[in-house]
């Protein structure tokens, strides 16, 4: 049986108070929202915080409001986001990505803020303490080298959020609250460039709100690749958002890949390529051929990395075909 290590559990009433608690306890403290990823990781001793600062006692953090833009309270559950009528109607890629995270009972407990900040993952890291001890530990926890790239001076654990690529594709921002004040940053600035320091926010800052701009007139989707369609983390995520003028010419394009690097990767060359073009089958094929190039899968997730790289091209193509109203080539569902 895997037991949790002991810790103190603090329940602040405001975000500012939570940030102060995190600042006071420094590296000994961690923040917990739903806990669906954190607690299993703690059972495997991937984290051993002495203090947990819970966000569940803070008022008004679960709200979802859609006026011009969309505001998601960070503690809104993934179930609530996926089932929200305005989110489904106006930001369908957000609803789709939230609804593809894990399974229903975990989406009832897991939060949108938690998924955005979810820990990076690696075959050599997401294991029990016993397993990691037997292989000599990696630099992300208790060790000194990267076991997937032993010559590397950085950690290559994969960004595994389903919602982060979508938020970046839609130009979303987040509010971060610290002990002394708050700031609002674009989602790409939330992420660092290393599998260990994967969040670029200050450790004491709490993510309180996600702001998604009005994207009326855009087409958007999210596609997810994994072994088991029921519960697995992504081994590839593709978020795509396209704006076209009345004549069908692409005026803006956003393609963001998940689970191919330590952070979500924007396919900037493909985005530029698509602008000014019509979204036909040939253009999509060429765009997909450009978009998958920045994907750098290593042998540290499920299935073969060469296949995951090839699938990045195929899945970008399918995402764009979906937006263009062309057949995606997906197999029909086994049961209706």
């Amino acid at each position: 049986m895997l037991r949790l290590p002991p810790f103190r559990f603090l329940v602040p009433k405001t975000s500012r108070e939570a940030a102060s608690m995190l600042a006071d306890h420094g590296p000994d403290a961690m923040v917990v929202a739903g806990g669906t990823d954190l607690y299993p990781n703690m059972k495997r001793r991937q984290f051993e915080p002495k203090v947990l600062v819970s966000l569940r006692g803070i008022a008004d953090t679960r709200g979802i409001t859609a006026n011009g833009g969309l505001r998601l309270g960070a503690m809104a559950t993934l179930s609530a986001v996926a089932a929200h009528a305005d989110v489904i109607a106006r930001w369908p890629a957000v609803a789709k990505a939230a609804g593809l995270v894990s399974s229903p009972p975990l989406r009832n407990a897991g939060t949108i803020g938690g998924n955005l900040c979810v820990d990076t993952r690696c075959t050599y890291y997401n294991q029990t303490e016993f397993w990691r001890a037997s292989i000599g530990y990696c630099m992300k926890k208790d060790g000194h080298i990267c076991l997937v790239a032993p010559g590397s001076d950085k950690c290559w654990a994969l960004s595994s959020s389903d919602t982060a690529p979508v938020m970046i594709a839609l130009g979303a921002e987040v509010t971060l609250v610290g002990p002394k004040g708050e700031r609002r940053i674009p989602v790409p600035q939330l992420f660092g460039r290393d599998g260990i320091a994967y969040l670029a926010k200050r450790p004491e800052e709490i993510l309180t709100d996600i702001h998604v701009p009005d994207r009326a007139g855009w087409s958007m989707t999210y596609r997810k690749l994994r072994r088991r369609g029921s519960i697995d983390f992504p081994i590839l995520g593709v978020a795509a958002a396209i704006q076209r003028d009345a004549g069908g010419i692409v005026t803006d394009a956003r393609i963001v890949l998940g689970a191919v690097h330590t952070h979500p990767v924007e396919a900037t060359d493909a985005q530029e390529f698509l602008k000014g073009k019509r979204l036909d089958a040939e253009t999509i094929e060429m765009a997909a051929g450009i978009a998958y190039k920045p994907a750098r899968p290593l042998d540290n997730a499920d299935l073969s990395y060469a296949w995951r790289k090839r699938m990045a091209r195929i899945e970008v193509g399918r995402a764009l075909r979906e937006l263009a109203g062309l057949p995606t080539g997906d197999l029909p569902p086994v049961v209706a």
């Binding site: 810790f7 559990f9 329940v11 806990g35 059972k43 894990s102 009832n108």
Partner: protein, 158 residues
């Protein structure tokens, strides 16, 4: 350091002092002796520990008892009322929705939430609805049939 909590389980309030690391699953099984909730994988994959927390199905091996302070919890022991089985329990009996029975409490509690959100699910919706509950006997066909049967019964149909 222990924390005082009051958790209402199947309608009865229970006040206890608990360690922060005590999981809701262990609170139910070991503190209250309600062993209907099973623990399978410990890592929130298998779903055998599923209970209702304020009406929503959650995996009680990733919820702390201190997080459930002030909440309403329903376990499989709370499904039958006045000696009469819940329609889902009847349906699992009727359609042979269990083999070894280990996943059954979690399947039932998850199905309660599923049918509350979607009283007339398609077969695909039922299958996706139990995405987070594993049956090691692989008895999924009859579990899906049981949930579909319960949905029909609860809608008053035959």
């Amino acid at each position: 350091m222990k924390c005082p909590v009051t958790i209402t389980v199947n309608g009865s309030a229970h006040a206890r002092d608990v360690e922060p690391r005590l999981l809701l699953a262990h609170f139910l099984r070991e503190t209250l002796g309600l062993t209907g909730t099973n623990l399978g994988c410990d890592t929130s994959q298998c779903g055998s520990c599923t209970v209702l927390l304020d009406g929503a199905a959650v995996k009680s091996c990733t919820v702390l008892a201190v997080q459930a302070d002030g909440c309403q919890v329903t376990t499989v022991e709370g499904l039958a009322k006045d000696g009469k089985l819940h329609p889902l329990q009847d349906a699992f009996w009727e359609k042979h929705g269990l083999q070894c029975g280990f996943c059954t409490p979690g399947m039932l509690m998850n199905a309660v939430d599923l049918l509350k959100r979607n009283p007339k699910p398609t077969e695909a919706e039922i299958r996706h609805g139990i995405d987070g509950n594993l049956c090691r006997c692989t008895g999924y066909q009859n579990i899906v049939a049981s949930i579909a049967h319960a949905a029909t019964q609860m809608a008053g149909g035959k």
